[in-house]
Every structure is written in C-alpha cells, then in structure tokens.
C-alpha cells in the first residue's frame, strides 16, 4: 500500500492499543496513498473497529501515531477533512433531516449550507421528508440520512466501519454510487468489513487484521473476488 512517489493520505506508525495489559492492536503500521480504497478485513474482535476509531481520532493509540495528510488526527483542521461512519447513525431523533444536516454543516463550517444540504438530501432521495423528524423515519431512510451526513462536508478521507452490514439495498445503492464518485475524484476510503462482496468490489487494496496485527496488506487480487473466503483460509481462519 505504500508508494513513496504518490501522496500519502493516511499514515499509521507503530500503533499499539492496550486494554489494560491486553494489546488489542499490535504494532500496526501502514500507509494509504491518496485515491485508494482500502478494505480492512478481519473477524469480529480482530481489532477493526478499534483501529478505525483510532484513525478517526475517537480513541488515542497507547503508542504510535496516526497522521492524515501529514497532520495529527486530533487537530481540528484534520478532522474537517475526514468523514466517519460508525455503527450508529449518529443522528438526532428529535430533529428533522434538514436540522440534523444543518447542525453538522455548522460544526464543519460548510459554506452555503442550505444548498449543500438540499443537494445531499436529493442524492439520498430524502428531499420529500426534508422537514420530517428522524424519529418518524423508516430504518432505510435513517441509514440514507446517515450516509448524507458523512458526505456532507465532502471529506478527503472516508472512514467507514462495516458500512454495508446494517444497510438495506437502497441505502447500499446510494452509498456505492457516492463511494464510486469519491473514488473517481481521487478521494481516499478506508472501510472495515467481514468479507462482503460489496466492499471487496469497491476496494483497490486489502488489509487483513488478525488478533490485532496486520497479517496481509496489498492490492486487491482477483481471486479474492472470485472466492471471498480465500484470504481467510490463507491465514488459517474459517
């Protein structure tokens, strides 16, 4: 995943994360060049979520460092450049779709927010319920609004934790088209996943976590697509 000649979007250097004395992440080091889409594979408990939270600056590594475009993730200017989609939708039930997006557009300091918000609502097919409370939304609508929130500030680096797992078909379609568009514009994407086809198809690179360590990192191979269990078997997991 490293190539010195290309712009390095994300660099992880010697990251360890301990829970007490237990190392949940062990000496993680990799670089993601700008424009690549990385699928982060691994079983439950392998450390995918922990790693993504550290990349997003939601958690501090016990040792090591993470830089995004050369700057620390906990800096405000860096956080403006990343978009994070976690397990929850991160939206307020008591606010309307528009109010939710306006809140985040204010926090991200987006210029001309109303226009951008309407654009995102359009993209996620939520214009009709622009002023409806999220509480009243169906599951699929909530998920699409969550996707709209992540892309709202046009992030340069996207960090997605199991993005396809909880989505319905329509939301997956929306997310895929947005991701493709981001990829075409040279944006960097890191997403964790079990072994889902959707993620592997989108990926240019694959990294595999096993017991808190990176056991495989490299470009996505065709055999991974043909046989999604291939990587897992290679590393002795079923």
């Amino acid at each position: 995943m490293s190539s010195a000649a290309l712009e390095c979007a994300l660099e992880v250097r010697g990251v360890w994360k301990y829970y007490g004395d237990f190392p949940a992440l062990r000496d993680i080091a990799f670089r993601v060049i700008q424009g690549s889409t990385v699928a982060l594979l691994g079983r439950n408990g392998a450390g995918k979520t922990t790693l993504l939270r550290i990349l997003a600056g939601l958690s501090k590594p016990s040792r090591g460092s993470v830089t995004i475009h050369g700057a620390n993730v906990r800096e405000e200017s860096t956080r403006r450049r990343i978009g994070v989609l976690g397990h929850g939708i991160s939206l307020y039930d008591e606010l309307s779709a528009f109010e939710n997006l306006r809140l985040f557009s204010k926090l991200y300091g987006i210029e001309n927010p109303a226009k951008r918000i309407d654009e995102m609502l359009e993209r996620t097919d939520l214009t009709r319920v622009r002023d409806g409370l999220v509480r009243e939304f169906s599951r699929g609508m909530r998920q699409r609004l969550a996707v709209a929130r992540v892309f709202l500030h046009d992030p340069e680096v996207l960090l997605l934790d199991e993005p396809f797992t909880s989505l319905d078909d329509r939301a997956i379609g929306v997310l895929q088209s947005l991701l493709n568009e981001m990829h075409a514009r040279g944006r960097t994407i890191v997403m964790s996943t079990h072994q889902l086809r959707e993620a592997l198809e989108a990926a240019t690179h694959v990294a595999m976590l096993q017991r808190g360590q990176i056991v495989h990192a490299g470009e996505r191979q065709q055999e991974m697509l043909d046989d999604t269990g291939w990587l897992y078997r290679t590393y002795g997991e079923n």
Partner: protein
C-alpha cells in the same frame, strides 16, 4: 528491590508507632482531666496521612494521564484507598474523642462535616473504580476523578477556615502554642504521621502489586476470549 523496601518501611512504621505509644502513654505530661486526650495522637496524624495519600493519589493520577503507565494508576488507586482508610480512622477516632470531650458522637461542625465530605468524595472514587471493568477506561476516568477529588479536598480545607467552628483550631496552630498543647507535646503527632505514612506506603505498594496482577488476569481473560 521492592520487597526489602516494604519490610524496611513496615519495621520503621511499627517501631515509630510503638515508640510514640510509649511516649504518649508514659512520658508526656498530658493533663489527666482531659479525658482520652491521647487519642488525638492518632486522630490528627490519621488525617495528615489521609491528606498525604490524597495528594500522592493526585500526583500519581496526573503522571498516569501524562504517561499512560498503569503502574501509576495502580499506585493512585492504592494511595487513595489507603488514604480513605486513614480518613475513616480519623473520623472514627474523632467521634470517640467527641463522645468523651463533648458528650456527643457527632456534631455538624464545619471541620467534621468537611472531612465527611472528603470521605464521601473518595467513596465515590472507589465506586467508580468498581463500576468500570475495562482497565484503560477505569484508569483514565478514575485519574480524572482523583484530580477533581483532591482539588475539592483542598477547596474544602480552605473554605472551612472561613467558617466559625467549635473545633480546636487547625493543628498547625500548635506551632504557635495554640490550644492546650505545648510545643513539646507536638512532636509525637509528627512522628505518628511519619509512621502512618510509612505504613500507608507499604499497603499502597501491596495494593499496587495486586492491581498489576488483576490487570494481568484481565489481559489473559481478554486473550482467551479473543482467540
């Protein structure tokens, strides 16, 4: 290295305690008409030792937050726990003294209530430690609470100087020959303080080792669950 230090401190502490017990019991010309006056030689040093412990807890917590080294978390836990024990001893001995001197077990005097307050703050600290299972989160949150608690202790201590109180004025005024106590009678208080601090450090060290072990057990359990 740690083991000999523990025994040295323990011996020193016990020796000092015995020596000052002898002095208090047989040597010092304590007024016989003040019943149970001797208990003050435990009462006051207990609180001094408690404050020492809270401050050590504060420093250890600060170092933990700065370095992330769990040793300091375990030490802070031990120090605060031992300090809470001394504060309990101080409160109990104070109540006994109050029963003899004033005829009541408890009075809502500013100094007493403020000590009770500090005691409650650190009971909250122990609650917090008990209720968080994940060691890193526990260390982080309890370090923050320890800092808040110690600042509160200092704040409370400062604020009671502003109250009118029926309590003997702060012990440090013994220096000026305040209250009943002559300067010659003051020394055992400081020796006892030293003895209790030594004892406290030994106990805190034992608790620290226990903390390290339980963290190791926790890590092994996590490892077992992850494979």
């Amino acid at each position: 290295m740690r083991e000999p230090i523990k025994y040295v401190l323990l011996t020193a502490s016990l020796g000092l305690l015995l020596w000052s017990l002898y002095k208090i019991g047989y040597v010092l010309p304590l007024e016989a008409n003040v019943a149970a006056y001797q208990i003050l030689y435990l009462h006051v040093p207990s609180f001094f030792a408690a404050f020492t412990g809270f401050f050590l807890g504060l420093f250890a917590s600060g170092i933990y937050l700065a370095t992330g080294n769990f040793k300091y978390d375990s030490f802070a836990a031990g120090a605060n726990e031992v300090a809470l024990m001394f504060a309990t001893a101080g409160l109990a001995s104070g109540m006994i003294w109050a029963r003899y001197a004033w005829g009541i077990w408890w009075t809502w005097d500013a100094r007493l209530s403020s000590m009770l307050l500090c005691w409650l703050v650190y009971v909250g600290y122990l609650f917090l430690r008990k209720s968080v299972e994940e060691p890193t989160q526990r260390a982080r949150l309890s370090a923050v609470l320890s800092i808040f608690g110690c600042v509160n202790v200092a704040f409370v201590y400062k604020s009671i100087e502003w109250y009118r109180t029926q309590h003997p004025s702060p012990v440090l005024s013994f220096r000026n020959g305040g209250d009943h106590m002559g300067p010659g009678l003051e020394a055992p208080i400081w020796w006892n303080w030293l003895a209790l601090v030594c004892l406290g450090v030994v106990i805190a060290m034992v608790r620290m080792q226990q903390g390290e072990m339980s963290r190791e057990i926790d890590a092994l359990r996590r490892q077992a669950h992850s494979y």
